[in-house]
């Protein structure tokens, strides 16, 4: 019985976390930026390292370091909020007219749950993303990679407290990063 209950708790948690990530993608793709911001904890860390080409055996040097090196993103809620505000000025020319964006989220794996699946307050979840972006007339970008999130439950609501974004590129293949991962 205990095993069953445990399996069920994990299943339900998996379902809830997946739904959360899909809902987040929905808010971004439907340009509900302020509602998206509300999903981020006040102390959120949003980090996207760069990836170097390094020799086999030196893979520990592949990624730039959070807080020490130059990264694609290494920021908190204040900067994310301003990036949203910038889009909402209507004169942010990298996003005006607004891009048409589709976030595909898959391979959702719960790596860790604290204290338990039946009463979770913190979840570490890894997922894959495929972001399709089309803007103005013919500009099309496709970005693929992984995310590793730490979600916290605050007053019954899941919030993103940490997001590590690993883009599977070396030289950035898009001309700006004015959207969200």
């Amino acid at each position: 019985m205990t095993d069953h209950r445990d399996d069920l708790a994990h299943l339900l948690l998996q379902q809830k976390i997946e739904n959360f990530l899909y809902w987040e993608a929905e808010l971004l793709d439907e340009r509900r930026y302020e509602e998206w911001l509300a999903l981020l904890a006040e102390d959120v860390r949003y980090w996207m390292p760069m990836r170097r080409n390094v020799k086999f055996g030196e893979l520990e040097r592949e990624f730039t370091r959070e807080g020490q090196d130059v990264n694609w993103f290494d920021e908190g809620k204040e900067t994310l909020t301003r990036r949203v505000q910038q889009i909402l000025t209507g004169v942010h020319w990298a996003e005006e007219p607004l891009s048409r964006i589709c976030h595909m989220v898959s391979n959702v794996q719960i790596l860790d749950v604290k204290p338990s699946a039946s009463a979770p307050s913190e979840v570490t979840v890894k997922s894959r993303f495929l972001i399709y972006r089309n803007r103005v007339e013919t500009e099309t970008d496709i970005l693929v990679g992984k995310r590793e999130d730490v979600l916290h439950r605050v007053d019954g609501q899941w919030k993103i407290r940490r997001r590590k974004i690993v883009l599977d590129q070396n030289v950035l293949q898009v001309k700006n990063l004015t959207f969200f991962f």
């Binding site: 760069m50 170097r52 090196d69 130059v70 920021e75 900067t79 301003r82 004169v91 020319w93």
Partner: protein, 293 residues
């Protein structure tokens, strides 16, 4: 290769201060620039702090060529064309690291960090022992210079020395390379290099940074929400409001920059030249450095 100069006619009108937009899109002009500008100008390659130890290397580029900036066992700096002397394959496909030798992945020729060809597999069998290995080191730049930590190189043995090439522009490069408290030098490179491609001609950024100080309207959204480099508003906003922006060009070497000054300066939209020598002597120099505060 373009032989004629037919496109030159009327593309630049120095007297009127007008250029044809043809110079930004003509493929022949670009091909000739690669041969005549990027092979002759002193180009920025990297920073000494990126390769502090013997064997350290950092892959950079000069024009469209991949180059290796490295430090040999005697701690001397080198900049090599990243191309094997055998079949032209890149001998280094990493961004940076430390290595005793660069080994070509094609036939295994290997080069020490001083550029010498030190290993040729099957030397007797495949090359009949006849290669003069002493003549087949990596191609090295003609001149290399370091200035307050920054590393510069040119393929042209006849290019003027780096400081001579810089001329009066040196003081504006100092604005970038000196410490904020006024001490000379002191810069170091942080880890990680943001690399992306902007599908445009190389002259657009130069023009945008140093030839055009009135396009602020295009990034007005940045100022409206205060999302400057620090992430919480531009640290130089106050100065910007108080300041007058000045475009400066150095006709002798073709350098140009834009700076911001607290003092009200007599400016117009035309660049200010510190000397009155003929602008007509201006040839294709290095891209402008954005020396603005």
């Amino acid at each position: 290769m373009a032989t004629g100069r037919r496109y030159r006619g009327g593309l630049v009108d120095l007297r009127a201060g007008l250029i044809s937009r043809e110079i930004f899109v003509n493929e022949e002009i670009y091909a000739e620039e690669l041969e005549r500008v990027f092979t002759r100008a002193w180009l920025f390659v990297g920073h000494e702090s990126q390769i502090p130890k013997p064997g350290d290397y950092f892959v950079s580029c000069m024009g469209e060529e991949s180059v290796i900036l490295c430090r040999d066992r005697e701690e001397r700096l080198h900049v090599f064309l990243n191309s094997c002397r055998h079949r032209g394959m890149k001998v280094c496909r990493y961004d940076e690291g430390n290595t005793p030798v660069f080994t070509c992945p094609y036939h295994g020729w290997s080069y020490a960090a001083d550029g010498k060809l030190v290993g040729v597999p099957f030397f007797r069998e495949a090359y009949h022992g006849k290669l003069d290995r002493s003549q087949l080191g990596l191609v090295e730049v003609a001149q290399l210079a370091t200035y307050k930590g920054s590393v510069w190189a040119t393929w042209d043995p006849n290019a003027p020395g780096f400081l001579e090439y810089l001329g009066e522009f040196r003081r504006y490069l100092d604005l970038t390379l000196d410490s904020w408290d006024g001490r000379a030098g002191g810069t170091e490179a942080l880890g990680g290099v943001q690399k992306w491609l902007i599908p445009c001609n190389w002259k657009f950024p130069a023009e945008n940074f140093s030839g055009d100080s009135y396009h602020n309207i295009s990034h007005r959204s940045v100022d409206m929400v205060g999302i400057g480099p620090s992430g919480s508003g531009r640290r130089d906003m106050r100065e910007r409001f108080l300041a007058r922006r000045l475009q400066i060009c150095f006709p002798e070497r073709g350098h140009q920059t834009g700076v911001t000054s607290r003092r009200r300066l007599p400016i117009s939209n035309r660049p200010w030249c510190p000397s009155t020598s003929s602008i007509a002597r201006r040839s294709g120099g290095a891209a402008g450095v954005n020396g603005g505060a």
